[in-house]
Chain length 406, copies 2
């Protein structure tokens, strides 16, 4: 079967050159998904909806053969998708004109060739290298991901991953905290996901590698031309032990739109996103916005209010209800709340004195401060202040007849 007017042999050869797919249908699908990554911009919901409904191959034929909206609708009907037929046809009407202009089979072939030369493979949804959580993006999920990774697949690392992102213009403070955080998270079994940019991103990857941890990067441009070029060696090291992903094909340049959409992949693929340092308008705030829009845990690291490099983090506290995280342990808790019993608890000054007071009040109801002091063996002043703190915490209360557990 010919795809985009190309001889089937060429299509299958291209698919084989970037994947281990063996069945004829899988190879056609791999090629079609790669082609879709060439003719669309990242996050094209119309394309995502069409591919989800018709399948990548049929959807590509629809473009190549310039189907009418009516035919797209009929196809949906015949596939038993009557309920979404109108929506898909409407998506088609909205998107087709965008795709026609980029329908260039030789361009598609050359990006497959570039990929093969650069040892870049193509991953489809469900493949072992596919970050499962991307499914939460719905029709905005990538149709395909181009990936560079070592012998061990990276897919398995995403379920326990956390995104550490931040400004290119990082300060010594931000880099120090990033190093501490990344290595502490690796020690706790987390993989570190970031964008391979200068500043915080680069430090996050480097620190993970230095701690012998897994780290994955999402790039905004083609994997054959690592961006930023100053990080090409770092990106090679990330690919060697973790993985480097891009939604756009080899040969594609990073654009502002592609950076913004790349950010959504960082936020969507991980359990939690932490912004370590960011100016008021840093791009990492966009990643944070994606994380909170997706209902992912969002954390930010505070810094001096006198530092412009932390202004964006403080904004996230004020405008996005970001959680304040100050240590790797708190970041781990952000990603896996279950891992801590202290989360959200009012634990102010629950020290030994308070503990023994609580024990006494568990056995006796309505004690005076003097009685509490006697039974706990602490001074009256100490008993008074602990009771006051415990009352603030809602653990105890003073009634007309004395102190008791709340």
């Amino acid at each position: 079967m010919s795809v985009m007017g190309l001889p089937e042999a060429e299509v299958l050869a291209s698919a084989r050159s970037v994947s281990a797919a063996e069945s004829h249908d899988d190879m056609l699908s791999i090629f079609a998904r790669g082609a879709w990554s060439c003719i669309t911009e990242p996050g094209d919901g119309a394309a995502g909806g069409l591919v989800a409904a018709l399948g990548a191959v049929a959807a590509l034929s629809a473009v190549a053969e310039r189907w009418s909206s009516a035919r797209v609708r009929d196809r949906c009907e015949s596939e038993g998708l009557s309920d979404i037929a109108d929506a898909v046809a409407a998506a088609w009407a909205a998107g087709a004109s965008r795709w026609y202009g980029r329908l260039d089979s030789s361009a598609v072939l050359s990006s497959f060739a570039l990929a093969a030369r650069s040892h870049v493979r193509l991953a489809s949804p469900g493949a072992e290298d596919w970050p499962e959580r991307l499914g939460d993006l719905g029709v905005h999920a990538p149709i395909a991901l181009w990936v560079r990774c070592g012998p061990s697949t990276a897919g398995s690392a995403f379920p326990r991953s956390i995104a550490l992102v931040g400004a290119r213009a990082a300060t010594g403070y931000g880099e120090h905290v990033t190093l501490e955080s990344a290595s502490g998270l690796v020690d706790r079994g987390f993989a570190i996901v970031s964008g391979a940019a200068y500043g915080i991103d680069g430090m996050a990857h480097r620190s993970a590698l230095a701690a012998n941890g897994r780290t994955m990067a999402f790039l905004a441009g083609g994997l054959d031309r690592p961006y930023p070029s100053g990080h090409s060696a770092l990106i090679d090291r990330i690919a060697a032990t973790g993985a480097v992903y891009s939604e756009v094909p080899c040969g594609a340049a990073p654009t502002k739109w592609r950076f913004l959409q790349r950010n959504r992949l960082i936020a969507a693929s991980t359990r939690a996103t932490v912004v370590l340092e960011a100016g008021r308008r840093s791009g990492s705030l966009n990643t944070a916005g994606h994380a909170s829009a997706l209902g992912r845990a969002l954390g930010a690291v505070p810094g001096p209010v006198t530092s412009a490099a932390s202004a964006g983090c403080h904004r996230l506290f004020r405008e996005y209800d970001a959680i304040c995280v100050t240590t790797a342990a708190e970041m781990a808790e952000l990603a896996e709340p279950a891992s801590s019993g202290e989360h959200g608890a009012m634990t102010l000054a629950v020290d030994e004195t308070a503990r023994s007071i609580l024990a006494v009040l568990r056995r006796n109801v309505g004690l005076s401060i003097v009685e509490v002091a006697e039974r706990t063996g602490v001074g009256t002043a100490a008993a008074q202040s602990s009771l006051a703190v415990l009352e603030l915490e809602g653990s105890t209360r003073e009634t007309a007849t004395g102190w008791r557990l709340a």
Copy 2:
């Protein structure tokens, strides 16, 4: 009428020496409230309930004459307080033994004498120097406040006041931020309330005075012996233009309990409390606890996660939902939310481009990115990224037929 077995003349003379009260009853009440401040510890809810029910004078007689619970109950009945009679009698039963031990008329007289000598006056609830919001403390509100202030009364300053508190062990960073905050708040018409301690408190008062603002201090000990003594000159300056308050009589030493209860007055008397710098166990966290228990706005200033002096502030974000405040403007907004339109809004990158896009979408429904770009006159990439950001903010959404306002 004799009070605590003292000749009435002596009682009235004492009252006159610390107040401008003129009527016989007012003077008796002033004396009785002063006496209550001598025989109770701050925040004694049983005493507060008794005084509220019987009045300060009768309540004091009850102690002096060692009434029985039954008589206290009967008195409530005869005052038409049947509904609370049992509670008051129970409070009496719980508290009386505490008060008997401190019932010493000569000690009371000498604290009035000390007060008169130190130009300390006594304020009762409702007096012009009385911080109105203390009423929110209910039975835990002070029965009386000892106050030192200049010619102009301080009471009028509390309605627009904010508490700036923090650790004694402040850093240069904390002191710098405190100075900026206090003077910025004074410029916005706020009075600054704090505890006159070393570190953040002292800097808050000093900065307010330097900006020719009003500032009030609450002390944990008697006003005749300013604590800390190293701040006695500062405390004199605060009293000269603002006011210095204490719940305990002259001659009384500050104790841990009195510091904790003093903190509740700082939190209760103001609109909002801001912690500028605090270690993990700083006493200012107790003030913050009072503020949040009272439903007052609570703010904290972030700092480097590498600074132990900011660890308490970060704890307030995590455990008390404290609002992150980084400037005097944000602190003013905390105290008076109405004063700002930006509060809580998702304003990330709503720049000129975004504004014009919103304007276009208000007039047109379902535009492609290219159409948006044409009608706003911005580049396609710029239109795409602004639309993406606006979508994150929930202002716009992409439908099958194009972009529209959400």
